[in-house]
Symmetry: C2
Subunit: 342 residues, 2 copies
Amino acid sequence: MKKRILTGDRPTGQLHLGHYVGSLKNRVELQNKHEQFVMIADAQALTDNYDHPEKVRSNIMEVLLDYLAIGIDPSKSTIFIQSQVPQLFELTFYLLNMVTYNRLKHNPTVKAEMQQKGMEDTVTAGFMIYPVSQAADITLFSAELVPVGADQAPILEQTNEIVRRFNSVYHTDVLKEAQPLFSDCPRLVGPDGKAKMSKSLGNAITFSASFKEIEETVKKMYTDPEHLRVQDPGKIEGNVVFMYLDAFDPDKIRVQELKEHYQRGGLGDMTIKRHLMQVLEELIGPIRERRHQFKQQTSMVVDVLHEGTLNAKKEGARKLDEIKEAMKISYRLQNLTPFFSV
Amino acid sequence: MKKRILTGDRPTGQLHLGHYVGSLKNRVELQNKHEQFVMIADAQALTDNYDHPEKVRSNIMEVLLDYLAIGIDPSKSTIFIQSQVPQLFELTFYLLNMVTYNRLKHNPTVKAEMQQKGMEDTVTAGFMIYPVSQAADITLFSAELVPVGADQAPILEQTNEIVRRFNSVYHTDVLKEAQPLFSDCPRLVGPDGKAKMSKSLGNAITFSASFKEIEETVKKMYTDPEHLRVQDPGKIEGNVVFMYLDAFDPDKIRVQELKEHYQRGGLGDMTIKRHLMQVLEELIGPIRERRHQFKQQTSMVVDVLHEGTLNAKKEGARKLDEIKEAMKISYRLQNLTPFFSV
């Protein structure tokens, strides 16, 4: 049976191969099996980029181009801008009453992010409450499945806690618990073998990367530092080139053969790097080309976003009405009289 | 010069004489000098009444009837329902990025209320952030003056801090600081001379109180416990009847004479209480009558609320556009193209 999925990205940069492995590839498949809402989370992005609104704004279109180029199909998936669905703000406000401040403080995902960003003392209220805003995203669209990385599982637990609390306080079942859909791919390591691939670390291969850019990134990739001569045996563990081949080369048998050859000795780093460059070009080349074409068709692309967002707004308005009915605060401006028994 | 005022009440019960002294009486005067927005703060009321939505809902109309009966004139004041202005939720979301969680925790008004309500450990996120929601109320309507009790001054300080932060982050002056308008009347003491007059303490004289109810409340009023015989001298200090006469008897000279007579001896408690009953009936009688009449005209009363709320929504939409323009996130669904330079 078709299920409703909510997924999306913060528009803080172009998407890249790290996103492809972790989520984008799945979405292209999921849209055929399920009903998928893909949210460009600009309002959420502002919680830690409030002082760089132009960054968030300009990347909405970049992310949209990435989606379309990768194969997210607007006839199957509803792509929309978060901030244009006003019901999300209102629902967030009501859900904030369903969670104690103490609980929010102890959300492991939020705690880790706060540490990472060094903002333990200066954390804004907006950032602290973003898990509640996510609960609003998930529940307003009645998502049953939410694709998450393992480190984001607490976010979904928080959402489901809020759902249970809400349903118990208002004696209803209007909000639905969501199940996580864990990605089977581990996080893509950066080309240097250390951090993850990330736009902010400057090590990302985007979907508009030229072959030359791919070459440059792969050339510098971390391999086996002790593999000095071609004829020497090389190590696979921690060797980024082979990690990328595992992630991106569709020919698993060939990858296995290359690994064995490398371990025996006689396979040079430059040879496997050339191979990886080809593999990545075969993946990115057509995406790059489609992205370029979509970029020429601004008005069509904007129409896609417009229509998706209208759909999301409609769904949001319908669901918020239902939620406010359950909360017994469903007085509506157009028709106040019957709601007040004076 | 006319200034914009924002004021209002949480609809958690009928209004009463305590509100009259502290704010309602002023509003009837202020609407002639200024441009007054009167907000029925249902969304804010839900932050600490989320589990009693029907209480909030039913009291919207009670408060509206109180307003009209007292003389708040819809042709001069804009009366509206907070939750029906969706821009307030959105602005709250953005303003949450302008304040640290640490700062919110140390808001004296919030701290005192948390203590009073015994919810230090169980305080909800919704309650914690209500000062930010108030900042959104005040700034969305560009209020220049906000009538407050002395204990609410920190709320306005918090708002103005947020305004300065916002204007500095976004290099704008789109948000305006507001000035407090302190009431010159002290808080009305309860009939027992101890707590304040409050619906929840069951000691309130509402605007629908019958003369019999006024009589009963005044009869039990705390006077001078040592004033046992009529001919004895009595004390004015802490004598609730005289406090109420100070607050409600328009004839200040007569009050002065009564005080002196009471202090000399020869003026019985029942006599001054009878006098106070008359004074209160002269105030409440006409209000009670008007309230009763409005209550018969549901559709007219609902129209007032409808029209006021439409005005507030229009003003809210206009101002939020201006604010988002300043935040550089003013892409609008109706016309996305020019906002994206792909």
